[in-house]
Symmetry: C2
């Protein structure tokens, strides 16, 4: 069987859906999955490490990379840039490595245009109450910013129709199992396989 | 969230791929899955029970059912009819019940035309040597019938392109895990969900 390309798994969804938690747990359980670190111009939150959680870059740096088409996608969200460095992702996939991206919805939709063979998965909270609670708990923004995020999150739920899969993040272990199943199943899809049945044993 | 219809999971593939073993193990591990018992005009093999493994029926009975359009699919294979009673499958799916069918390729392709939203999974043996060995081991047919089955099986491998998924049946537990993942993933597909996000908690 010819070597298959890696999968690009895009985890997306509104702020507060818990996609970060799911992504982290998925990476822990699937060590062959590689995480694509995003760029951002926002300030690090307590505990966030440059090059691990994000590449924290200046507006000038990011705008220069956009001009040189070095980002696979980029978006502005709450007045900050977020983006995905292009080269590392493309190279990994060609090498047969599965890559996971955890990104905002605007970015995911850009990637879908450029790379429709990605696995686009939308993470949703179990209810609006839970969503509101999670955004409040983060506790790093002012109430005004929180309300803005919540309103955006509610609007963003409409984008589910653009995705291949939807996973309700009610209980983390259940949601992670679903994500693992999605990855395993996608690897069995006929359209992804240059399937050649070998006569030789 | 509105109630979803059940899935119709079609396990198919050439004779000797081991789809029967996989189907049996899958049903054991997923008790909510319901098995659609096929009809056949062939004689029962030792240990096969009418209404459990197959409904064993006369040619006259099956031809009458075909005339009344009571079969979801039917095919002739090695001079016998095989078919799937329509009503039970359709009713179960409307009730939200997942149904699994284990059928020959001709039958699977008929179902695909009538019911393209089914989950069409092709089971293949890991090599032609293993295929030959498995067909021989069954030991219920003459060498001429075996050779005919083997030649048909090799031709039938071409049909993989008509399917959604392909699972290589090398080790049964690994193949069963893949089938379980396919079912779980398909239940997360956006196109299968009349997704309504409820504001109420």
């Amino acid at each position: 069987m010819e070597k298959s390309h890696g999968l690009l798994i895009v985890l997306s969804g509104p702020s507060g859906a818990g996609k970060g938690t799911l992504c982290k747990e998925l990476l822990r359980q699937m060590p062959n999955l590689s995480y694509s670190v995003s760029l951002t111009t926002r300030s690090p939150r307590p505990g966030e490490v440059d090059g691990v959680h994000y590449f924290f870059r200046s507006r000038e740096d990011v705008e220069a990379m956009i001009a040189r088409d070095e980002l696979l996608e980029w978006a502005q969200f709450c007045e900050n840039y977020y983006g995905t460095p292009r080269f590392a992702v493309e190279q990994a996939i060609l090498d047969g490595q599965d890559v996971i991206l955890e990104i905002e919805i605007q970015g995911a939709l850009q990637i879908k245009k450029r790379f429709p063979q990605g696995v686009f998965t939308f993470i949703v909270p179990p209810s609006l109450d839970v969503l509101s609670e999670r955004i409040h708990k983060r506790g790093t923004e002012t109430e005004e910013v929180i309300q803005k995020r919540l309103a955006t999150a509610i609007q963003e739920l409409e984008y589910v129709s653009e995705y291949d899969y939807v996973v309700v993040n009610d209980e983390v272990p259940v949601a992670v199992d679903k994500l693992k199943s999605i990855i395993i199943a996608e690897k069995c899809r006929v359209k992804r396989k240059p399937f050649v049945f070998k006569g030789e044993s």
